[in-house]
């Protein structure tokens, strides 16, 4: 059946056809036709955020927690530019997202019209692809391709910029799915020869390690399952990037914890001393490698990645396996079983790893009586919530690293954090998106006093949609991570890193219709956390923690994995310019 529909109606129908449940958005002049098409349509739920950055991060949180693409709808000009941080964030962390932006009418494009911005130009390098739609008859096909591009291969954000006249103009519309253009076909399986070689290398390794990343989570639950299976077959210990936490259960004896700048001593030492690194869906990011010329000098490297551009980008590898993590892991496991391989004797390697574990790199000093160490607060939060299988989001800073170190994840899609871009203000909207996707889950944003203020307005969104999101602020009255770097590299010259004039977070919570709880002393910690869990609604916990605690272990910038600072807590100093110049 073919009928005429407006561009806006075609958009809505196409989103419904794609199975979209939620659209995170904010209205404005250039999207009024779309908002009108959404009005009274109960097939899609529009979530009205308070700022477009919130919409993009909420869509990211939804996507990360459910595995489905997040959808954003914003107006032209400031609506689109406000969303850019979230788009760039999704690009860095490979989050599937489709962003619909309104644009001024076609005839006004280029005339500096009211609320005109070159959205296509601005988002060109922080999207996987973007479109300016000039004809409503192309909309259905473009939306179809946009969802494929956002979700297939290495996922990422796609922007569809729709001028207002195109939203209003009519075009033929049919229920039949539009013809696929079929120009995007990422390679998902690795060649058999390479698989055979990988099996050979793994079987021959005396000191292997599995280094896993966000790609395993993006690939889906099957990849997680196969990772566990490969580990069982090979006996190799497992470490993960920040983005990959949850792909491998943190209670498994083979788990080494996170690696990299704030990773555990054992994971960084094991990477450095290994003779084979099997990288699964990670990208040798600078936060992971530390000083490149000293990174894992004696190891062979296998790199499984669906993005060919990630191969050899920073670290040259011996065997690239381009493909989807789940597919390639399945191929390796099949090759392993077919050739009748057995676990190599890793007794010596495991003993060395145990030696590094014995250093207890996550131990932290106790402070004065009553004062809450932030690490301890996370440990208690974990202990009291773990049975509920919570979803945890974070902001960016020390609290994020402490959450990664002391909260433990057994399953994928439970850990939402801004890894690549490191965007303060990500956590609260991401928690809102995750809660919508998982209405029965306990969703907690582990926040810092500075970061939470970056998208604090989204408290109102949670109130409006009755979302029982929890925000747990590790309030150290500092931009702690900045302060820590200044302490370590700029002789404690604390330039503009003090969180002055903080609001009363309890009153702020109450002003938005949330419950507010303050925890000031270690003796109140468990009861406070329990009260947060028990409250059937949104809660801010303002947890006052030791103000100058530092996040260790740490590989200072410019240092090698083997030069970690362990419970150094009181280190102060300076660095040469070469080290300072590293991010």
């Amino acid at each position: 059946m073919k009928t005429e529909r407006s561009g806006a109606e075609i958009l809505v129908e196409s989103l419904v056809a794609k199975g979209v449940e939620f659209v995170f958005g904010y209205p404005g002049g250039a999207v009024l036709p779309i908002y009108d098409a959404l009005f009274g349509d109960d097939r899609i739920r529009h979530i009205l955020v308070r700022h477009e950055a919130g919409a993009a991060h909420a869509a990211e949180g939804y996507a990360r927690a459910t595995g489905k693409p997040g959808v954003v709808l914003v107006t032209s000009g400031p609506g689109a530019t406000n969303a850019v941080t979230g788009i760039a964030d999704a690009f860095m962390d490979s989050i599937p997202m489709v962003v619909i932006t309104g644009q001024v009418p076609t005839a006004l494009i280029g005339s500096d019209a009211f609320q005109e911005a070159d959205t296509i130009g601005i988002t060109r390098h922080c999207t996987k692809h973007n479109y300016l739609v000039k004809d409503p008859s192309q909309l259905a096909g473009i939306i179809d391709e946009a969802f494929r591009i956002a979700t297939e291969g290495r996922p990422g954000p796609v922007v569809i910029d729709i001028p207002k006249d195109v939203q209003i103009a009519q075009a033929a519309w049919s229920q039949v799915a539009p013809q696929q253009r079929n120009r995007y076909n990422p390679q998902v399986e690795a060649p058999a020869d390479d698989i055979a070689q990988a099996v050979e290398m793994i079987a021959a390794a005396k000191a292997p390690i599995l280094y896993t990343g966000g790609g395993v989570i993006n690939s889906g639950p099957e990849a997680t399952r196969l990772l566990r299976e490969l580990q069982k077959l090979t006996g190799a210990p497992v470490t993960s990037t920040l983005m990959g936490l949850g792909a491998f259960p943190a209670d498994d004896p083979a788990w080494l914890g996170m690696l990299g700048m704030h990773g555990t001593y054992e994971s960084n030492m094991a990477m450095n001393r290994s003779d084979l690194i099997v990288c699964v869906g990670a990208r040798f990011d600078d936060r992971v490698t530390g000083r490149l010329d000293a990174f894992a000098p004696n190891s062979k490297k296998i790199h499984i990645d669906i993005d060919r551009a990630s191969i050899n980008k920073t670290v040259p590898v011996d065997l690239p396996l381009i493909g989807d993590c789940a597919k390639v892991l399945a191929q390796i496991i099949e090759g392993w079983l077919e050739t009748g391989r057995t676990k190599a004797d890793l007794t010596e390697w495991n003993a060395r790893v145990d030696g590094w574990k014995a250093r207890q790199s996550l131990a932290y000093p106790r402070r004065k009586a009553g004062e809450i160490m932030p690490q301890f607060a996370i440990e208690r939060l974990y202990a009291l919530t773990k049975d509920k299988d919570p979803v945890i989001s974070t902001e960016v800073g020390q609290h994020q690293m402490w959450a990664a170190q002391y909260f433990h994840f057994m399953k994928p899609n439970k850990w939402l954090t801004s890894g690549g871009l490191g965007t303060m203000g990500y956590g609260l909207p991401a928690a809102i998106g995750a809660q919508l996707g998982n209405p029965d889950s306990l969703v907690i944003d582990i926040a810092g006093d500075a970061s939470i203020q970056m998208n604090i307005q989204e408290l109102g969104t949670a109130t409006q949609y009755r979302l029982p999101v929890k925000v747990f602020i590790l309030n150290n009255e500092w931009m702690g991570m900045v302060r820590q770097w200044q302490q370590l590299t700029y002789e404690s010259r604390y330039s503009n890193s003090y969180s002055d004039s903080l609001p009363d977070f309890v009153k702020l919570a109450e002003a938005y219709g949330w419950k507010g709880i303050r925890i000031e002393d270690e003796s109140q910690l468990d009861a406070g956390i329990q009260a947060m869990i028990d409250h059937d609604g949104p809660v801010i916990v303002d947890c006052l923690v030791a103000k100058e605690a530092n996040c260790f272990p740490m590989i200072p910038s410019g240092a090698a994995h083997t030069d970690m600072i362990l419970y150094g807590d009181e280190v102060a100093g300076t660095m040469d310019d070469e080290a300072k110049a590293l991010v």
Binding site: I120, G121, R124, H125, K128, H129, N130, L132, I149, R183, Y184, D307, R308, A309, I311, N312, K313, P316, D576, D577, E578, A581
Partner: protein, 171 residues
């Protein structure tokens, strides 16, 4: 602190792309955003339906960066195929230049004589000037332009190169 430099290689890449709005900005922008070099870039659509364009880019950089450029280009959705002619070789590369020379007497005669040696065509003339059209490898054009500097060179326009693999098959 000093910024470090690495050894560079020159590579010629051909890129087949969907002829859609913004694709050139996307490709040129990829080079600027990631700090790659463009020495020359040519583009024109090459199909009857005007839906596919062929881009030739000359770039230089360390081998690992050249490989990254290749991979990053292939990652763009409208890009069908990237061929590194320098890698796949042997290949032909040609560039067209327009060269304006003005002068009288001896210089004018000498310019015309050299043009003949280089097989440059005269495409415009006045009693005191020529515009030569010269096709060839960039080196050949460089040396012709170098000679004309002594004989009254006024201006030069160059297209940048197009390249193609030698032999019977397509890249």
């Amino acid at each position: 602190m000093k910024i470090k430099q690495e050894a560079q290689e020159r590579h010629v890449l051909t890129i087949m792309v969907d002829n859609e709005a913004g694709i050139l900005a996307k490709i040129a922008g990829l080079f600027t955003a990631r700090g790659y070099n463009i020495d020359s870039l040519t583009v024109a659509d090459i199909t009857d339906g005007h839906d596919v364009s062929r881009i030739t880019i000359v770039t230089h950089g360390p081998p690992a960066i050249i490989d990254q450029i290749h991979a990053q280009l292939e990652r763009l959705v409208p890009v069908h195929k990237v061929t590194d002619l320098t890698e796949v070789g042997p290949y032909v590369e040609r560039e067209l230049a327009l060269i304006k020379v003005s002068g009288k007497g001896e210089n004018r005669v000498e310019a015309l004589r050299l043009a003949d040696v280089f097989r440059a065509k005269v495409v415009d003339t006045t009693t005191s000037s020529f515009i030569f059209e010269l096709t060839g490898s960039p080196d050949k054009i460089d040396s012709f332009v170098g000679l004309m500097k002594e004989l009254g060179l006024v201006e030069v326009g160059r297209t940048g190169i197009v390249g193609m693999i030698r032999g019977a098959s397509a890249a």
